[in-house]
């Protein structure tokens, strides 16, 4: 026995992740190459307006970006550059893309971290409560509310929060203040509305998942055993039922990161003017700043890939029953 199966398993997951990463980069490369515009477009209008020869300009720019080389050379250059951390040049902000991202990622990170914590903790507590009080009026009300929470478009919720709390009551600023130090109470206050905006949908989802995972386990024999032993209800629910319900929940929380959280954070940042990765991608769209839009998509995708890998590996610790061959 020993731990050798674990090492084999981790190596296997790593190789698998590398294959997926290669797939992601290849699909992105194909998308960009198949797309109708080229980096030359950005300069073409500008230079031809000053009397330059369009054909000459296009040729020069294509040579500069290596677009005149055979497609497979371009492909390997692209992969090589990404690995060396050369993510291209942002025309819109006149700096290397990698520097731009280094300056802005922390804003997305703090928003996503706080929202996830808010949603996970509150969602699990409400879900447990709802399951314990199954078929009571409170349970129905909470279930109904969670339906509403799931259905509210988060970008609309953000605007409504601004309308009520900032425009009507003046409790919060309508825009995120970028001059605030990151670790300060004022910064936390500025993030209240964005966190609610991003967190509500997740929160409602976690309430529903926790409730159903708890109910699945509440009827099992080991719960009856625990109660028969005379354990206090608090221990039965907290230590026996919830521990068992936690594993599927971890999967869902991690899965949400890709499907809901990144898209939601993108929109939330735009609504509140938080200068995170979503915001720089949004600005790049208007400036037709290709490398930035691609970089933000790739970073989001690789974060999902890393989190998936971490989840798979952490399972072996969370659930000792799991053995992978």
């Amino acid at each position: 026995m020993g731990k050798s199966w674990l090492r084999d398993y981790i190596v296997k997951r790593l190789i698998y992740s590398i294959i997926i990463a290669w797939g992601i980069l290849t699909i992105t490369f194909i998308l960009v190459r198949v797309g109708p515009s080229s980096p030359a477009d950005k300069y073409l209008a500008n230079i031809t307006a000053r009397g330059g020869d369009p054909a000459q300009v296009t040729a020069a720019i294509e040579a500069r970006y290596g677009l005149d080389k055979p497609i497979y050379v371009q492909y390997f250059n692209y992969l090589g550059n990404l690995f060396r951390g050369n993510w291209g040049w942002s025309f819109g902000t006149s700096m290397p893309v990698i520097e731009l991202i280094k300056a802005h990622w922390i804003y997305s990170f703090q928003l996503i971290l706080l929202s996830s914590l808010f949603a996970a903790i509150l969602g699990m507590l409400i879900g447990i409560y709802s399951a314990v009080k199954q078929y009571t009026k409170t349970d129905y009300a909470l279930t109904f509310l969670s339906f509403i929470g799931i259905s509210i478009p988060n970008f609309w919720l953000g605007i409504m929060l601004i309308l009520v709390f900032s425009v009507k009551f003046g409790l919060f600023k309508t825009y995120y203040d970028t001059t605030l130090p990151l670790f300060s109470l004022d910064n936390l206050k500025a993030l209240v509305l964005p966190v609610i905006t991003l967190g509500t949908g997740m929160l409602a989802g976690y309430v529903r998942y926790t409730r159903s995972a708890m109910l699945d386990n509440l009827r099992k024999a080991f719960v009856t055993t625990a109660r028969a032993k005379g354990l206090p209800e608090r221990t039965v629910i907290g230590k026996h039922v919830f521990r068992n319900a936690l594993l599927p929940l971890v999967t869902i929380i991690m899965f949400d990161l890709g499907s809901i959280v990144f898209g939601g954070a993108y929109l939330t940042e735009i609504i509140f003017g938080i200068p995170g990765l979503g915001q720089i991608s949004f600005n790049a769209i208007f400036a037709n700043d290709y490398p930035v839009v691609i970089a933000v998509t790739l970073i989001g995708t690789f974060m999902v890939l890393l989190v998936n890998l971490a989840t798979d590996i952490s399972y072996t610790y969370l659930d000792p029953r799991i053995r992978y061959g």
Binding site: I19, I20, G23, I24, I27, T28, L31, V32, G35, P36, S37, F147, I148, I150, S151, I152, P153, F155, W156, I159, M160, I162, L163, V167, T174, G258, S259, F262, G263, Y266, L267, I270, I271, S281, F282, I285, F286, V293, I294, V296, T297, G300, T301, V304, L305, N308
Partner: protein, 320 residues
């Protein structure tokens, strides 16, 4: 000739009566869930609104600065106008009028007309894009499960790659690269949204594949085509209906969100585009942002209620 024709008609009749009985049975089960019935009613209302509404409302693109920012019925706002001759601001109270029941936006366009034409866009996008995604997902899922081997491996690894992309970020990238026309947005959502369906249909088909009736069909010499279309797919139809109902809201929201960040089709006033324009006039005309959002919210809620009700109704284990 006549004989075979009569046979064919009989056969179709029998099939139809069979399916109406089934539909009747599921309808009875769904009906017991009040929220699902509400969802269905709202969806029918929305389809009617989108189909015939535009014939009764004003032109949603007609700009009229004389009538800008009129509040909805029952609301009153203050509007100050600058008079260039007297060099003074005058403040008037503006009341909602029946001419514009839901008010007008900052360009004087009728909100009701915009909401109605937006319903058309959202529903079309939701139904068509979901249709593409479901068909693609079903084909990939069934093929993967049925053929197995390297085909299964290749298809599922491709699905893994597509699933790793955060859905919205991938959409943003695709629409950014290929340009925001409505047809393309629909296609992009359809071509990226099939992964979940493929996985679910695959696992369902895998368990069906080893069941007696499929094995029996194969033993009797049925071709792969026949097994797939006559035995496998009919048995995953209920799953497909549930997935479709529950994925429509996500698709509608995705289109609205794309419009909201400026990647919508500018020639079509979708709810997302109205919402985005309303965000800039929150202090003078709050209703422009509120109204399309309420419609989006109710639409998503209705599909979620219906999908949830259908899931319970189709689940033989649940007692509704």
């Amino acid at each position: 000739m006549v004989e075979t024709l009569r046979d064919a008609v009989r056969k179709i009749g029998r099939r139809l009566s069979n399916s109406t009985r089934l539909i009747d049975y599921y309808w009875q089960r769904t009906r017991r869930n009040k929220l699902a019935v509400f969802g269905l009613a709202f969806i029918i209302f929305l389809i009617a609104l989108a189909a015939i509404g535009p014939f009764f409302t004003a032109d949603p693109t007609a700009v009229n600065f004389e009538e800008k920012e009129i509040p909805p019925i029952g609301f009153t706002t203050q509007q100050s106008t600058y008079n260039i001759e007297s060099d003074k601001f005058t403040t008037n109270e503006i009341h909602g009028t029946w001419k514009h029941p839901l008010g007008t936006d900052s360009k004087g366009r009728d909100m009701l007309a915009m909401i109605v034409s937006g319903a058309r866009v959202s529903l079309l996008v939701g139904l068509i894009a979901t249709g593409i995604a479901i068909i693609l997902g079903t084909i990939i899922g069934v093929l993967s499960a049925y053929l197995g081997g390297w085909v299964d491996n290749a298809l599922m690894r491709f699905t893994d790659v597509m699933m790793t992309f955060p859905f919205f970020l991938l959409l943003v990238l695709i629409v950014f690269i290929f340009g925001p026309s409505l047809a393309f947005i629909v296609l992009a959502i359809g071509l990226t949204g099939w992964t979940g369906t493929a996985r679910l249909i695959r696992s369902e088909s895998l368990s069906l594949r080893t069941r007696e009736f499929i094995v029996a069909a194969k033993a009797l010499g049925a071709s792969d085509n026949r097994v797939i279309f006559r035995h496998l797919i009919p048995n995953v139809v209920s799953l497909i209906i549930i997935i479709a109902t529950l994925s429509i809201p996500g698709v509608i929201l995705a289109e609205a969100a794309l419009s909201f960040i400026g990647l919508g089709d500018p020639s079509v006033p979708s709810w997302g585009i109205i919402l985005e324009s309303g965000q800039h006039t929150l202090d003078t005309a709050w209703w422009v942002a509120v109204e399309p959002g309420i419609m989006l919210f109710l639409t998503v809620l209705a599909f979620n209620f219906l999908g949830d009700g259908l899931r319970d109704a189709f689940d033989p284990k649940s007692n509704v």
